[in-house]
């Protein structure tokens, strides 16, 4: 009688764990994808910009007004370059260069060469948002969301150990894979760090 009650308790716990694991797993799909995709993107930050597409071009423009720091010049430059976004500000950068800032565009005007060096930045669709969250640029509330997500991941990994019974369970086969997964980072640390 005692044995049966113990067995029931274990069975209930097993089913409860499965249910929690399943539903939390569903809940975490979006976040896991965001963090994993962004993880790959920022892992290669040395070879590309994971958040922005930066386009650069050079234009030689003649017949613009002489005073590069006048409103008249700014309007002529904007028109010549076909910039449609809002003008933000203008700054003298060096003796012969003036910078013009627009929404999403920076123009470096070289007075000597009469050349405009245009740099346009656009957020990468999807990836910008994923990186924004993954790198916790938002801080504040997102810090706590990320903490909760991390706790849920810990739960998923540990509860997963008890999901399967029998020959493929943790006790008979699973522990080997778990051990291999732990050895991988440890051996990396031992040999490379």
């Amino acid at each position: 009688m005692v044995e049966k009650s113990g067995s029931d308790w274990r069975k209930k716990l097993f089913l409860l764990n499965r249910s929690f694991h399943r539903d939390i797993g569903y809940f975490c799909v979006g976040l896991i994808l965001i963090y994993a995709i962004s993880g790959i993107a920022v892992n290669h930050v040395d070879s590309w910009n994971p958040s922005y597409v930066i386009t650069r071009s050079e234009h030689t423009l003649k017949h613009l007004p002489k005073d590069a720091e006048s409103d008249e010049f700014e309007k002529a430059l904007t028109k010549s370059l076909g910039i449609k976004t809002d003008f933000r500000s203008r700054v003298r950068d060096s003796a012969d260069e003036v910078l013009f800032f627009y929404e999403g565009t920076r123009v470096s005007w070289n007075e000597t060469k009469q050349q405009a060096y245009v740099e346009t930045t656009e957020k990468r669709i999807g990836l910008f948002f994923a990186n924004y969250l993954h790198l916790n640029k938002a801080k504040r509330v997102w810090t706590y969301v990320a903490d909760v997500f991390a706790v849920l991941l810990i739960y998923l990994s540990l509860s997963g150990l008890f999901m399967v019974k029998g020959a493929n369970g943790f006790g008979r086969r699973g522990w080997m894979f778990v051990t291999a997964g732990i050895i991988l980072p440890l051996s990396f640390y031992y040999f490379y760090v």
């Binding site: 922005y52 500000s89 700054v91 800032f101 929404e103 920076r106 916790n136 938002a138």
Partner: protein
């Protein structure tokens, strides 16, 4: 279920709107010390907390780990640096006014370090750079920021 979706969107909304203006511990435009004043006696500011302000001329494109602000000293700029990830300066903030608060640091570079430093800046700006054109080592002053504010 509806309330869960509402909470999720509220959280996302709050985080994305609140974050852009004040970064890290924040800063006040009114606390800004003109660079012309700092550069009269830079040594007296080294190691101390200062607030600088100006127009954002450039931002680290990949990591947002530094920005350059205009100053009231000719065409000179002041570099505001943060530790990776602590604060991320948004690239799209170029051309906006900003103030940054942090430790004023002095870095005495060797000739080789000066060349590397200038080569790195040129590379980031996709500009040509000739190391042979650098004849003297530089002293670089920068603000190691703990907070910043960017005008919307």
């Amino acid at each position: 279920m509806k309330s869960l979706v509402f909470i999720l969107f509220t959280v996302i909304g709050l985080t994305s709107f609140a974050a852009e203006k004040n970064l890290g511990k924040g800063a006040k435009f009114t606390d800004a010390v003109p660079m012309s004043k700092i550069m009269k006696t830079p040594e007296s500011y080294v190691g101390k907390e200062v607030t600088v302000s100006g127009t954002i001329v450039d931002v680290c494109a990949k990591r947002g780990c530094w920005m350059q602000l205009t100053t009231d000293v000719g065409n000179e700029k002041v570099r505001v640096k943060v530790n990776d990830g602590e604060i991320v300066f948004p690239l799209e903030a170029r051309g906006k006014k900003a103030a940054a608060k942090g430790e004023f640091k002095k870095m005495v570079l060797t000739l080789e370090q000066t060349k590397n430093h200038l080569a790195h800046i040129a590379e980031e700006n996709k500009k040509k750079f000739d190391p042979a054109s650098v004849k003297e080592p530089m002293v670089v002053y920068q603000v190691q920021a703990s907070g910043a504010v960017i005008e919307e």
